[in-house]
């Protein structure tokens, strides 16, 4: 924990609604070290983005952190408010959104947006910021950065825009990047380039990355470790190799089996019966039990165990042979 850039402990996010309190994130814990890429994977609504938003302090009310701790470089940040939190954002935590088409302000040139961000966080002059802006664009692979610095977002293609977004997220040299589905909105041909770029930049700088995605392919490609989330809870946590080749949680196993990449060569893709429960209707016990083919009475009665020795939150973790 001490060497981790980001450390999340028992994080719970709650949203009060008319029918009761919903917990999109429920007791999640994980660490990310410098230069490490943690893939956070799960279906939509599993709470993976919510956790990211909680870290950067951008939960939209009435969602709020109800319990747990968030540590960044040894400082606890979950209770930080307003101005203190703002100073962290961009400076220590960068964020990349899903859709590069909507992430950039259409009315400001990309140079303006870059220098503005740098000037907000770094004690540098405007001319220095402008120099760095060009450098940042070059670094993310924008050809002709010097000329393009005054261009507006609409003058770039989608992939180029996502490069700009990455440059923006990294320009104040944060120690953590939260990339929320950074490739989902892009053409397949561009996806790999962006992932490679992200990977390279973070490795070079030793930036920790929380890579939020629903795409196992992206995880396999980029992540060092992976956290699987289901219904707001952490289902499995481990190195990419372990989780992908030897999933211990039945959900992860199902997920893998349903992914073309991981089940390459199989005659037909596997399907998990049923759907993830609505967050206001999470079943008692282990959240996955209604869909789990291995479910026992214990699963129905008691919540899944905390991730400890094994890297799955499951009463009956799968052993390697069980993966069919």
């Amino acid at each position: 924990m001490s060497d981790a850039v980001l450390s999340i402990r028992n994080l719970s996010v709650e949203i009060p609604t008319r029918t009761g309190v919903v917990k999109p994130v429920d007791g999640v814990s994980y660490d990310i070290s410098a230069g490490e890429i943690l893939g956070v994977v799960g279906e939509s609504g599993a709470g993976k983005s919510m956790a990211g938003n909680a870290v950067i302090g951008l939960l939209s009310p009435p969602a709020h952190i109800a319990a747990g701790e968030i540590w960044l470089n040894g400082t606890r940040i979950d209770a930080l408010k307003g101005e203190a939190m703002r100073r962290l954002r961009g400076k220590q935590i960068g964020m990349v959104f899903q859709d590069p088409l909507t992430s950039l302000n259409p009315l400001l040139s990309i140079g303006d947006q870059l220098t503005e961000t740098m000037l907000t966080h770094l004690p540098i002059s405007r001319s220095e910021a402008e120099k760095r802006a060009v450098a940042a664009l070059e670094e993310v692979g924008i050809p002709g950065a010097v000329e393009r610095i005054d261009s507006y977002p609409h003058e770039f293609s989608g992939g180029m825009r996502q490069r700009v977004v990455i440059a923006l997220a990294l320009c104040a040299e944060p120690s953590l990047i939260i990339a929320d589905e950074p490739t989902t909105a892009l053409d397949v041909s561009v996806q790999a380039q962006i992932i490679a770029l992200l990977k390279r930049l973070c490795r070079d700088r030793g930036t920790a990355v929380m890579l939020i995605t629903h795409d196992m392919g992206v995880i396999a490609e980029a992540a060092d470790r992976v956290a699987v989330m289901y219904a707001g809870r952490l289902a499995e946590l481990g190195t990419v190799r372990d989780v992908l080749t030897q999933p211990q949680h039945p959900y992860t196993a199902g997920l893998m089996a349903s992914t073309p990449l991981a089940s390459a060569g199989k005659a037909r893709l596997h399907q998990i019966e049923g759907a993830m429960p609505r967050l206001d209707n999470v079943p008692e016990g282990c959240a996955f039990h209604p869909r789990c083919e291995y479910a026992q009475d214990k699963c129905r009665a008691a919540p899944a165990p905390q991730i400890s020795d094994s890297h799955a939150a499951c009463w009956f973790p799968l052993i390697a042979e069980k993966v069919s």
Partner: protein, 319 residues
């Protein structure tokens, strides 16, 4: 992994009564939580009901000239008239008409004009919006250019122009009965653009969606597609605009009355009553102006507040 029907509450909902569904809906929930919405709804309801049932509530019928006694003129509220000894709840106006009754009947006229004008604008705007959004091409250009031209011209002038023209085309003997309808058309015509724009925008979006494509492929006529598929999707922004337009129409009617092109004084609307009443502002007969003005304010304000709340609750993009 997602093709399975959703679990949970879906089957239960089908069994519930429509009322139940409404009472369980988010709209009703936010509604209950907003005192402003509740109060303004109650006020609007009271006003609308008392306008509708004015003949039952009002002590006199101010539209029947034979029932008036001029000597009752200018009786202050709750005080007996110096000549006749009659007492009136909110006093009387210059013609000896009971102000309370004229307000009830005037509200009828105002609401009728307002609602009818908005309905007219709505039907016209939705139709033209749907057509121009769905058909496109020249039809769209003509309709939307007309809308632009009209938008550059303020509604009050448009209404005055239409009023003038309509009055000229109406045969003399029908002019009096026509005044109200002309007013409705004048206000409605100056108001359709908003509806058309919103509906056209929404139609353009919906038209590209797969279900509309599918409906077209299985051979539904454009008419059916627009009516069954696209229209329901644009209803909530239309509802919001309609509410706000209603308040605007009521005010517009009052303003036109002030400029002397409104409802005839023998069948006064709230606007006409205010026009008449403002002549007595300095003379001490404050009740002739105050009560209709307060009624108009209350009505328009409640409708506006309701529209405001609806806008927030339905959160449509009002473009």
């Amino acid at each position: 992994m997602t093709d399975i029907p959703e679990q949970g509450m879906a089957p239960k909902i089908a069994q519930k009564s429509r009322l139940r569904v409404f009472l369980d809906s988010d709209i009703y929930y936010t509604f209950k939580r907003s005192p402003v919405a509740v109060v303004s709804t109650i006020v609007v309801l009271i006003l609308v009901l008392s306008a509708v049932f004015a003949p039952l509530i009002a002590p006199t019928n101010p539209f029947n000239p034979a029932s008036l006694n001029l000597m009752n003129g200018f009786t202050p509220p709750m005080e007996p008239n110096a000549f006749t000894g009659d007492t009136f709840f909110l006093g009387t106006d210059d013609q000896g008409r009971d102000v309370f009754s004229t307000i009830l009947y005037g509200m009828r006229v105002s609401l009728f004009v307002g609602v009818a004008a908005v309905l007219f604008a709505m039907v016209l705007g939705i139709t033209l919006g749907l057509i121009s959004g769905y058909v496109g091409g020249w039809t769209e250009t003509i309709i939307m250019r007309t809308a632009d031209v009209q938008l550059t011209f303020p509604s009050i002038l448009v209404a005055m122009l239409i009023f003038g023209i309509a009055k000229g085309f109406t045969p003399v003997e029908y002019r009096d009965q026509m005044a109200i309808w002309v007013l409705i058309i004048a206000i409605g015509l100056s108001d359709w653009v908003q509806f058309a724009r919103v509906v056209r925008g929404a139609t353009l979006v919906e038209k590209r969606k797969e279900y509309v494509e599918a409906a077209r492929l299985i051979g539904r006529t454009p008419y059916a597609i627009m009516l069954r598929h696209i229209l329901p999707n644009v209803l909530s922004p239309v509802l919001v605009i309609a509410t706000i337009s209603l308040a605007l129409a009521i005010i517009a009617e009052a303003t036109l009355s002030f400029l002397g092109v409104g409802a005839p004084p023998t069948q006064p609307s709230l606007g006409t009553l205010i026009r008449i009443g403002q002549g007595f502002l300095f003379s001490g007969e404050w009740w002739i102006l105050l009560f209709p003005a307060v009624t108009l304010l209350t009505l328009a304000l409640s409708v506006n507040l309701l529209g405001d709340w609806l806008r927030d609750a339905l959160n449509p993009r009002l473009r």
